[in-house]
């Protein structure tokens, strides 16, 4: 069974705040689910030998023209920022002093 500390660590990595009650129920559910999906350990072969079928498709690195659909979409996305200065998305300071 996965430990309570592990659940708290996962929550921290996932940037999700959990309540005490939720931590406990997640401990049970996540343990059950991991037990079930753990059956893939019976699959033979090494993961690093698996060559995926898909490959990346890149678009040309050119700016969208004024009046194009994507340029309009860009402007609409900027309009949706919760807080902005000119065209910049205003976010709060990340680096903080340790107390």
């Amino acid at each position: 069974m996965i430990s309570k500390e592990d659940i708290q660590k996962l929550a921290e990595l996932s940037r999700i705040k959990l309540t005490e009650a939720e931590t406990e129920s997640l401990q049970k559910d996540i343990s059950n689910i991991l037990d079930y999906v753990g059956q893939v350990s019976a699959i033979e072969g090494s993961a690093d030998k698996n060559v995926p079928l898909n490959h990346n498709v890149m678009r040309d690195d050119v700016p969208y023209e004024e009046g194009s659909a994507l340029k309009d979409a860009r402007n609409a996305i900027v309009d949706a920022f919760p807080k902005k200065e000119k065209d910049y998305n205003s976010v709060r300071k990340i680096i903080q002093k340790d107390e």
Partner: protein
């Protein structure tokens, strides 16, 4: 003029073209049915306020000489597909007030065809679930029995079509989310080949599985919607054109999987197989040894991609933004409040299976199993046109019955393989078990939607 909402798209299109009815008549018939039943069924999260206006425009376009089978046809749209200027919430508190800034490519194509959008339909939050019970806005009820789920994740879209609150609908299918509710509600649901429909403007759940698909009353109607929305799109680099895969010639052979457990649907499946044999098909037994790992493989991949796809919801650029004592607190609060329990559970699970110590044991193995299954499908389709299974192992369950998340996952056993391998699959209504609808699933080779439509029509008696 009553019951226009009960017409198929094909029937309605013929009447529109003949001038017997108008798009406004059709829209009003659907709106009247919505007015009557939406309160009880919780199918639409929002009915758009410009439906009649859209219908009037469609009528004008027809007067000006345009014609398309979807011109003036009222459709329901799943709440994770963007329509410019309308809300798209993915049934989440996180995006409750999010207004789409552009049209999804599928919406753009439907607008060009002249379809009328009735509203946005309920779903499991971020397309995570199989019953629409994970919606932040309450479950959708099954039109055949309101104490039961409509299936999911496109439960609202399937229920809208089944209850004649729309002539057709768009859903999205990540692990069966079009086919599962189609089976539970007794309608047709088609998941196209991976990449054959653009996902530009569709809120991502699991990017290596997601496909947009039609939900309709007949196979013919599903085909009309599919042919309108499919095709390569410069805005979705995973989209493909119709010529990517080799053409398949008709063999008139149905594949059945060896050693599949009996389910409640087996009897109906056998009967349907006999019907096809009577129409000149032969049945061949096929072997898919990796199928036993399909669910575990599917869920590992699902958790992993969900945790990374949903990391964009941080309250910084759009969506729910709550303030804490620090930026880290802002994230943690916004994501705790914005996401429902199943979504949070999957994000944690995905974080676990992708962590350095467990990556090879889970995600790495899942990738291997996925590739093995894909090869087994490819071999199978050398000899058969379609593989036939039930869509779901049972009828729609009672709302609240599956409290344990794992028990709900296990119901996806028949639908997830097509998402793992990228093959197209369709659910065809096949009859009733315990008075409730069940569907039969057909899966075809990559790019061979034609086989699904052909055999699907044979099953529903739509063949000419």
């Amino acid at each position: 003029m009553s019951n226009l909402n009960e017409l198929s798209i094909q029937e309605a299109a013929a009447k529109l073209q003949a001038g017997d009815i108008t798009a406004v008549d059709l829209a009003r018939a659907c709106l009247a049915e919505i007015e009557k039943r939406n309160k009880d069924l919780n199918v639409y999260l929002e009915v758009f306020n410009d439906v009649e206006e859209q219908a009037r425009m469609a009528d004008e376009r027809r007067k000006a000489g345009e014609s398309h089978p979807l011109l003036g046809i009222p459709l329901a749209i799943k709440d994770n597909i963007l329509i410019k200027g309308k809300r798209a919430s993915a049934s989440s508190r996180m995006l409750e007030n999010y207004v789409a800034t552009y049209d999804a490519t599928v919406i753009k194509k439907l607008k060009e065809a002249g379809a009328v959008f009735l509203g946005r339909t309920n779903m499991d939050e971020f397309a995570l679930g199989g019953s629409t019970e994970n919606s932040a806005f309450g479950p959708t009820k099954n039109p055949h029995d309101e104490s039961r789920v409509a299936g999911g994740t496109s439960g609202g879209s399937a229920a809208a079509v089944a209850a004649h609150m729309a002539l057709g609908a768009l859903g999205t299918d990540t692990g069966g989310s079009v086919r599962n509710p189609a089976s539970f509600c007794g309608v047709v649901g088609l998941k196209p080949t991976y990449g054959s429909v653009s996902r530009f403007g569709v809120i991502a759940a699991v990017s290596s599985f997601d496909q947009v698909g039609p939900i309709a009353k007949t196979v013919e109607d599903a085909e009309i919607i599919l042919s309108t929305i499919q095709g390569k799109d410069q805005f979705d680099s995973t989209s493909i054109d119709g010529n990517l895969y080799p053409k398949h010639s008709e063999k008139k052979v149905i594949g059945v999987v060896e050693g599949l457990a009996e389910s409640k649907v087996s009897e109906i499946e056998n009967a349907k197989r006999k019907e096809l044999e009577a129409q000149g098909y032969t049945v061949k037994s096929i072997s898919l040894p990796s199928l036993k790992f399909a669910l575990a493989t599917y869920y590992i991949t699902n958790f992993a991609e969900v945790s990374s796809n949903l990391s964009r919801f941080d309250g910084v650029r759009y969506g729910l933004a709550l303030k804490g004592d620090s930026l880290a607190e802002d994230y943690a609060k916004s994501r705790a409040e914005g996401f429902g329990p199943e979504t949070r559970r999957r994000i944690l699970l995905g974080t676990y299976v992708l962590s350095a110590g467990y990556y090879d044991a889970y995600y790495g193995k899942a990738g291997l199993a996925r590739e093995q299954l894909r090869k087994e499908f490819e071999t199978a389709f050398e000899d058969v046109d379609v593989i036939m299974t039930p869509t779901m192992p049972d009828v729609a369950w009672k709302i609240g019955e599956k409290e344990d998340p794992l028990s709900a996952y296990l119901a996806d056993i028949f639908t997830v393989p097509a998402n793992l391998t990228g093959n197209p699959a369709i659910s065809i209504p096949a009859g009733l078990v315990d008075g409730l609808p069940v569907g039969i699933q057909l899966t075809a080779a990559h790019g061979d939607e034609a086989a699904l439509l052909r055999v699907g029509k044979a099953l529903l008696g739509e063949s000419k």
